[in-house]
């Protein structure tokens, strides 16, 4: 077997381990889906009518559902960050990681297994979110190709967020702090166009909202699912994903190779 085959084999073994964890504790693995679903229900039924009235076209609740769903999906991707950093930190604070490190296996497989596992569970939990949105009356205009592109975009975002949160898990000394650090990532979609158009925000915040990564991602997904204008946002989103993934990967790699906890 070549080095690459080893790397793939070891990463698959690690991935199977993480999938086993996810299947065994669905409450933990699908937990991140709960927040976006609750937000969806809350915003649509409590605030939807009045926020929808403020949207262009004065569409009310159903228009807001259409506006909000892509934003909530993006929020769901960001919410997956927490379970990644918790899982990584948990492994790091327990003895098992030292067993992996003293075995002749591909070093990166440990992190790769976590990241790919995290992307998969995020995708599954997003299926739940979309199902709830459809049940509430969300009627996307996307063609199959647009659905595919949307899935690709979500996977890319989930991948980038997972590498970054894996690094956050590595710098956390306790599981508690590992669950707190990604809150920043989770909160970021609120300060973007996920819930209301960035253009309606106060000037300083508007500048931030327009220039932070989750806004172009939300706008791209919204365009793919509901047919709104995408413009350059697609490329900007992919560039953000590549940048975040690279930084997260390089950071995780340095941290994992350089530290031994305990």
């Amino acid at each position: 077997m070549s080095t690459l085959t080893y790397a793939v084999h070891d990463s698959m073994t690690m991935l199977r381990r993480n999938i086993k964890h996810a299947l065994r504790y669905p409450a933990v693995s699908l937990g991140p889906a709960m927040m976006p679903i609750l937000m969806l229900l809350l915003f649509v039924y409590a605030f939807g009518d009045s926020i929808g009235a403020g949207l262009p076209g004065n569409g009310g609740r159903s228009a807001y559902l259409e506006y909000l769903t892509p934003g909530v999906i993006i929020m769901g991707v960001a919410a997956g960050a927490m379970s990644t950093s918790i899982a990584v930190c948990q492994d790091m604070t327990e003895g098992i990681v030292n067993r992996f490190r003293t075995m002749n296996i591909t070093r990166s497989s440990f992190m790769t297994g976590h990241v790919v596992g995290s992307v998969l569970t995020t995708l599954v939990s997003l299926i739940l979110v979309v199902a709830v949105a459809l049940a509430l009356g969300f009627r996307p205009s996307a063609t199959p190709v647009e659905w595919l592109a949307a899935a690709g975009l979500i996977t890319a975002i989930a991948f980038a967020v997972a590498w970054l949160s894996a690094a956050l898990g590595l710098i956390s000394k306790t599981v508690e702090s590992a669950s707190n650090k990604p809150l920043l990532i989770q909160f970021l979609p609120f300060l973007g166009s996920a819930f209301v158009p960035a253009g309606t925000m106060a000037p300083g915040l508007r500048w931030f909202a327009e220039n932070q990564p989750f806004t172009p991602m939300t706008e791209t997904l919204r365009g793919l699912l509901t047919g709104s204008a995408i413009g350059n946002d697609g490329w900007i989103s992919l560039a953000w994903c590549a940048g975040i993934a690279l930084v997260g990967y390089a950071w995780s790699r340095t941290l994992f190779n350089g530290t031994t906890k305990r």
Binding site: T13, R16, R17, H21, E94, G95, I96, R262
Partner: protein, 342 residues
């Protein structure tokens, strides 16, 4: 083993089992510090293949750091080390292929069952499905956890976790095994089971590097013992050699009067010289305290016309060695000898 020799690789990836007398582990001048704190201050080790080596020391002596360096978990700041013929710094993969490590904290996956834990390791060793299952089954039976193979490790008792941990270490048939305080926190029964395990491993030709704070454990298991204190090896040898390093068996005589004490001291000059403790008016006279030796001793006292107020016979054990060598710089050995009356 010269590094130019590159024997054919076994399944474990390491060189073929070194011949009798070859060193499984050797280290020269290992140093490690964290910030200002020097943890290891120049450690030399030579551990022949097929032997059990115990690194004995109090908490914080640097035992775990030594294991971490030798098992490639951390890099040393200075010095060199070879494990199973591979340099830990330049050929960590070769080292990892030959070793098994059981750390101070059970290295298992709590969310997986015992069997799944073993299969995980087998998968990572790329044993293949059939071989992996066979190894897992063997080890589950050998370590008496076959009946709970389907239970999650999280539900296991301390002793069972250790057994599973060791079983996971053995999946790959390592030639060199590191056991970092393997019995810390175990009840006496589990401790004895672990000792039996270690003995059976040695019988199979494996080299074992053991760290422990329990003197009895080192005494029971190890061919050679090194005492680590403050980042330095303060003594090394077999259990008997170590015991011989500190004041051996001796008889203590205590007197009530200073002049009696002085006359008695004068009766044991030179070679049979007594160690004086002027404050306590106590003499310590070397000798193993058997009847003949005691009779000679008392005869001398009688000849000098003094009577001891009190006498006791002391035999050193590893506790004495440990206490004498560790702690206050290890210099005042004689002063630290534990007062065990036998």
């Amino acid at each position: 083993m010269p590094s130019s020799v590159m024997p054919t690789t076994t399944r474990n990836g390491g060189p073929q089992s070194p011949g009798v007398g070859a060193d499984a582990i050797s280290a020269v001048g290992l140093r490690k510090s964290y910030g200002d704190k020097t943890v290891l201050d120049g450690i030399d080790l030579r551990i022949p293949a097929g032997s059990v080596f115990a690194l004995l020391g109090p908490n914080g002596a640097g035992k775990t750091t030594t294991v971490q360096i030798l098992s490639t978990l951390i890099a040393a700041d200075g010095g060199q080390a070879q494990v199973a013929g591979h340099d830990v710094a330049t050929s960590p993969a070769g080292v990892r292929a030959a070793i098994g490590v059981t750390g101070q904290f059970a290295a298992l996956d709590d969310l997986l069952t015992a069997e799944e834990n073993l299969l995980l390791v087998a998968d990572l060793l790329r044993l293949g499905k059939r071989e992996g299952r066979k190894r897992a089954k063997e080890l589950l039976e050998r370590f008496d956890i076959a009946d709970v193979a389907g239970n999650r490790a999280a539900t296991f008792s301390g002793g069972m976790r250790r057994r599973l941990d060791i079983a996971m270490t053995l999946v790959g048939d390592p030639r060199v095994i590191f056991l970092d305080e393997p019995t810390t926190g175990l009840d006496p029964r589990s401790r004895r089971t672990m000792w039996e395990t270690v003995r059976s491993l040695v019988a199979g030709g494996v080299t074992i590097f053991l760290t422990t704070q329990y003197l009895e454990e080192a005494d029971q298991l190890a061919d050679r013992i090194a005492v680590l204190d403050g980042g330095r090896i303060v003594a090394e040898g077999t259990s008997d050699e170590l015991k011989a390093q500190i004041p051996g068996s001796h008889v203590r005589l205590r007197f009530n009067e200073t002049d009696e004490y002085e006359r008695a001291a004068a009766a044991f000059p030179g070679a049979v010289g007594a160690l004086r403790d002027d404050e306590e008016l106590t003499l310590r006279i070397a000798g193993d305290g058997d009847l003949a030796a005691l009779r000679t001793l008392f005869d001398r006292l009688d000849a000098a016309g003094v009577r001891a107020a009190d006498f006791s016979v002391h035999t050193p054990d590893l506790d004495d060695v440990f206490l004498a060598l560790t702690g206050d710089g290890g210099t005042g050995a004689a002063l630290h000898v534990k007062e065990t009356q036998r």
